[in-house]
């Protein structure tokens, strides 16, 4: 049955600004269905974003939303969560926002294991400013600032998150609309810092320079290069070359969550 998104969309805000075929609209839909499944009320949900095309998402939806400065969504999100731990806080941004200018905030939020869900929209470039390379641009790929191909090795956002201390890490793609919804739901329900890296096509800034002229080419590319994690973990590096794992990549429910640790410390200091 057709899903009714209208209840979550601010009146008069559609059509959105994203380019024709941009994968971000697909993410927005999967995210809204996942949020709906939590049963949380709109008033207890907070969306915080940085700057970029991905970060425009909160402006369209009827939750508590904050569009902050470039790379700083997690600074604001951390403050909001500590001020009112009852709120459900979701931070989002592009690969540039989260792993370049905001990389520091990203690793430290992961390290603290604060109860926030982080959605990283990875389209391999800086979309909003015209397709400059980012820390996730694959080696050899073309960007406006890498006309001869990217010469730097790229970050694997999901592995970065695991290494930094996030306790739930998953990866998905805009092709996998339904698995994405289920993965985001798992991340939302996880207590601690959860990261979902979502591969999404930017036809304007990336696809047309890298042999994917149509938006659908990018979706089909995602379908063909994604390997379920359960299978990927038994494959060799050579077999995985050029491919990426999707699904739940890491989960640990044993580590202390930051707000609880903070409250305990405050309690101890009061008894002091």
């Amino acid at each position: 049955m057709a899903y009714d998104y209208a209840k979550f969309i601010r009146p008069g805000r559609l059509p959105h600004i994203w380019c024709p075929g941009c994968g971000y609209g697909i993410i927005m839909k999967s995210m809204l269905r996942a949020i709906d499944s939590t049963g949380w009320s709109k008033d207890e949900i907070v969306l915080a974003s940085g700057i970029g095309c991905a970060s425009r998402l909160p402006g369209y939806v009827d939750f508590n939303t904050i569009h902050t400065t470039h790379g700083r969504s997690l600074g604001f999100a951390t403050g909001i969560k500590l001020a009112n731990p009852a709120l459900k806080v979701i931070a989002m941004g592009g690969d540039g926002d989260m792993s370049a200018i905001g990389g520091n905030h990203f690793i430290h939020a992961c390290r603290r294991n604060i109860d926030i869900t982080v959605l990283v929209f990875n389209n391999y470039i800086y979309g909003m400013t015209g397709g400059q390379y980012s820390p996730t641009t694959p080696m050899g790929a073309k960007a406006t600032t890498a006309p001869y191909g990217m010469i730097e090795p790229s970050f694997d956002i999901a592995r970065l998150a695991v290494a930094a201390g996030a306790t739930f890490v998953g990866r998905t793609t805009s092709y996998h609309a339904v698995p994405m919804e289920k993965l985001i739901l798992q991340a939302l329900n996880h207590k601690g810092l959860s990261v979902v890296e979502i591969m999404a096509g930017c036809p304007t800034g990336y696809g047309r320079r890298n042999g994917q002229k149509a938006a659908s080419d990018m979706l089909i590319w995602e379908k063909e290069h994604a390997v379920p994690y359960e299978k990927a973990k038994n494959m060799t590096e050579a077999e995985m070359a050029g491919k990426f794992a999707i699904g739940v990549i890491y989960k640990d429910e044993s580590r202390p969550e930051y707000v609880e640790s903070y409250d305990r410390a405050v309690g101890l200091s009061k008894r002091g």
């Binding site: 559609l14 839909k29 979706l219």
Partner: protein
């Protein structure tokens, strides 16, 4: 009878071709830069287009069997 009803919101559609290219039966086309139904009878109600329409522009309602 068609298995589903396809509704297209032309105001939101940006004509990106995702629905057309990912429809397994070829039920959709682009006309005047917007998605359009080519042959409603071909639609199986699989939802591929609706799920991946980035613009909230396609609504598929499956008919009761």
């Amino acid at each position: 009878m068609a298995k589903a009803v396809i509704e297209i919101n032309a105001e939101c559609c940006k004509g990106c071709y995702i629905c057309v290219e990912l429809c397994p039966t070829g039920a959709l086309e682009i006309k005047d830069f917007k998605a359009a139904v080519k042959d409603a009878e071909l639609c199986t109600g699989c939802m591929s287009c609706e799920l991946r329409c980035p613009d909230f522009a396609i609504i598929i309602t499956r008919n009761a069997k």
